[in-house]
């Protein structure tokens, strides 16, 4: 390959000069550009999307047809009971992707490229979490449709049902920021998978997601009643009108006020992990 010197000269003279947009305009522009990058990736590498849609379909079918015959929920159908649990489990695990992809971007060096450009540092992370919100939203739609096919129904109102979906996605979005922070802090993307396995499996399974917490042995019951995933599941279950009549949900404040608890949880996670992640982003590479 040869590049003629005069062509390079002409090209450099013709190079555009960067503008200096207002901070707010720059932030929105940077956020959109990095979001778009992640959307293109979803389109071009459909593995993630396939996994995040096929897995929930399998879970819905598995629990609806394999377990529903054996697990009796007094006063309710197991299919109706389980659906909020599957939704919550899926979006909680979906948030892991944010951490994995962030760690992968660091390894690939693309984060260093971003950090040498005059962009808002937080925009990279906003782009990441936005892209993952979209993936989680698609998973939700797929699960809702599959759920409706197997006989799940929202027993409250359409509005409350929507509120439940929004709450699940908002919680997942907040969790994405936690995962982004972890992704910025670990040495390799593989660590994220281990962390999520060790932390998220107990959180989702020692909860009221798949069985009523009242039947659990006492130590596990106490854990389940304080478990934030339980609050999320119960909040969604209430909003969907899927709580079996007479079910003992637990005496903790989080179980008595699950929607408020989840909203507070979302606010706290965002208030802590958005600034923490942005701070961490600025310090990548300053450790050995």
């Amino acid at each position: 390959m040869t590049v003629a010197a005069d062509r390079v000269t002409t090209s450099l003279e013709a190079a555009p000069v960067p503008r200096e947009p207002s901070p707010l305009a720059a932030w929105f522009s940077d956020g959109w550009i990095t979001t778009r990058r992640n959307l293109i990736k979803i389109k071009r590498v459909p593995d993630v999307l396939v996994f995040t849609t096929l897995q929930p379909i399998m879970f819905v079918l598995l629990f609806s047809y394999v377990y529903s015959g054996s697990i009796q929920i007094p006063g309710s159908d197991y299919k109706e009971f389980i659906m909020a649990g599957i939704f919550a489990q899926t979006v909680v695990f979906g948030a892991t992707w944010s951490g994995y992809a962030t760690a992968q971007d660091i390894r690939d060096g693309i984060i260093d490229r971003f950090r040498t450009l005059p962009m808002r540092p937080s925009a990279v992370l906003v782009g990441r979490t936005n892209g993952d919100l979209l993936i989680n939203s698609i998973s939700m739609v797929v699960m809702i449709l599959t759920g409706l096919v197997v006989g799940w129904r929202v027993r409250s109102s359409l509005l409350e049902g929507l509120a439940g979906v929004v709450l699940l996605l908002a919680f997942a979005y907040a969790l994405s920021w936690v995962m982004v922070f972890i992704g910025l802090s670990v040495r390799s993307p593989e660590v994220i998978n281990n962390v999520s396995f060790i932390v998220l499996f107990p959180l989702t399974f020692i909860s009221n997601a798949f069985v009523p917490s009242e039947n659990l042995p006492t130590p596990l019951r106490i854990f389940a009643e304080w478990n934030p995933v339980s609050a999320l599941v119960l909040a969604a279950r209430q909003l969907f009108g899927n709580v079996p009549p007479g079910m003992q949900v637990g005496d903790t404040w989080t179980m008595q006020n699950p929607v408020q608890a989840v909203l507070i949880g979302i606010a706290v996670l965002l208030a802590v992990f958005v600034p923490l992640s942005v701070w961490r982003f600025g310090r990548i590479g300053s450790r050995a």
């Binding site: 390959m1 390079v8 555009p16 962009m119 450790r287």
Partner: protein
């Protein structure tokens, strides 16, 4: 005042369960505008750390650095608006096409939508990527990736272009291609700071070279000046028969300023001498007297390898602190 200057930069890494690493230990540089400056050193010498400090990726513990009068630590964003960075890891998004990568970088420099698109098209044409411009980078060869990476650094006309080991890992043909591009950029008046562990690369591209080792500049000058510091010339002999090697080494020993080196196959030997021509004549006369047949005999100026060995006491390939200077410094 130099266009790019760094004074007494110090960076210390504190790896877990390992001794503290002084990646930069009082490094100072000054690069005049419109020149190509080569930072030469082995793995772990502090080249990448220097580039990371100057490109705002990490902060130095102490010392200061300025580009065009702007302080790197105090106003990193103003620095980022003016620099272009291309690195050994070819930091482009694999899933985006060449055009999409360039457009993304353009938009993040806050070029307008149309400027960014037009510039992306110009650069793929300039870098001979026209046919591949709409394919994801994933399928590109190593040389093409480096070109797209370099193109990303030229979306604007950078005040300083940083090239961190631009040809590491490239095949010889791609390396020559990359050298051509960098030479074109240099002749177009771009200020370039180049790091390399290839002595030949610094020799060919850089106007001025700083040899760094263990986080410090240990020598500074043009390639010729550095070679002159080693002094003298090198005499090389290639024998027809390896049996004659002891006699040849003995002849070289008599004229050399140090011990002769013997090459791998046992038929070539060389030595550094103070005065080239008389020494070569003497060696040739001695070998002719003994009836020793030669394939080749010659005299050459010392290479930068010799310079490095002389200055540091160890060879340039010596990567003892390798692990301290990875991608994230991990």
């Amino acid at each position: 005042m130099a266009f790019l200057e760094a004074e007494d930069l110090r960076v210390t890494y504190h790896p877990r369960k390992a001794p503290v690493v002084k990646a930069l230990d009082g490094l100072s540089l000054d690069v005049p505008q419109g020149t190509v400056f080569g930072l030469l050193g082995p793995n772990g010498a502090g080249k990448s750390t220097t580039v990371k400090v100057l490109t705002t990726l990490i902060r130095a513990d102490s010392g200061r650095a300025r580009i065009d009068g702007i302080d790197v630590r105090e106003d990193p964003e103003e620095i980022r608006r003016r620099i272009g960075v291309a690195g050994q890891y070819a930091a482009v998004d694999e899933n985006l096409t060449a055009l999409e990568n360039l457009d993304m970088v353009g938009r993040l420099y806050h070029l307008s939508r149309t400027d960014s698109k037009r510039r992306a098209e110009e650069l793929v044409a300039l870098f001979d990527l026209g046919e591949a411009k709409s394919r994801p980078v994933k399928g590109f060869s190593g040389g093409m990736r480096r070109r797209i990476d370099l193109a990303c650094a030229l979306v604007i006309s950078p005040a300083v272009l940083f090239l961190d080991e631009p040809t590491t890992g490239l095949d010889p043909r791609s390396r020559l291609g990359m050298w051509d591009v960098i030479e074109s950029l240099a002749s177009a008046g771009t200020t370039v700071l180049l790091t390399t562990q290839y002595l030949e690369e610094a020799d060919r591209l850089a106007d001025d070279i700083a040899v760094i080792d263990r986080g410090q500049v240990i020598a500074r000058g043009t390639a010729d000046e550095l070679k002159a510091r080693v002094g003298g010339r090198r005499i090389q002999l290639t024998l027809v028969s390896a049996d004659d090697l002891p006699a040849a080494v003995a002849a070289l020993q008599r004229v050399g300023t140090g011990a002769p080196d013997v090459s791998g196959d046992g038929r070539a030997a060389s030595v550094t001498v103070a005065e080239g021509a008389p020494a070569l004549a003497e060696v040739l006369a001695e070998l002719a007297r003994q009836g020793i047949e030669l394939h080749d005999a010659g005299m050459q100026r010392p290479t930068l390898d010799d310079v490095f060995l002389r200055l540091t006491g160890h060879a340039a390939e010596d990567g003892e602190a390798d692990e301290t200077e990875g991608r994230k410094g991990s």
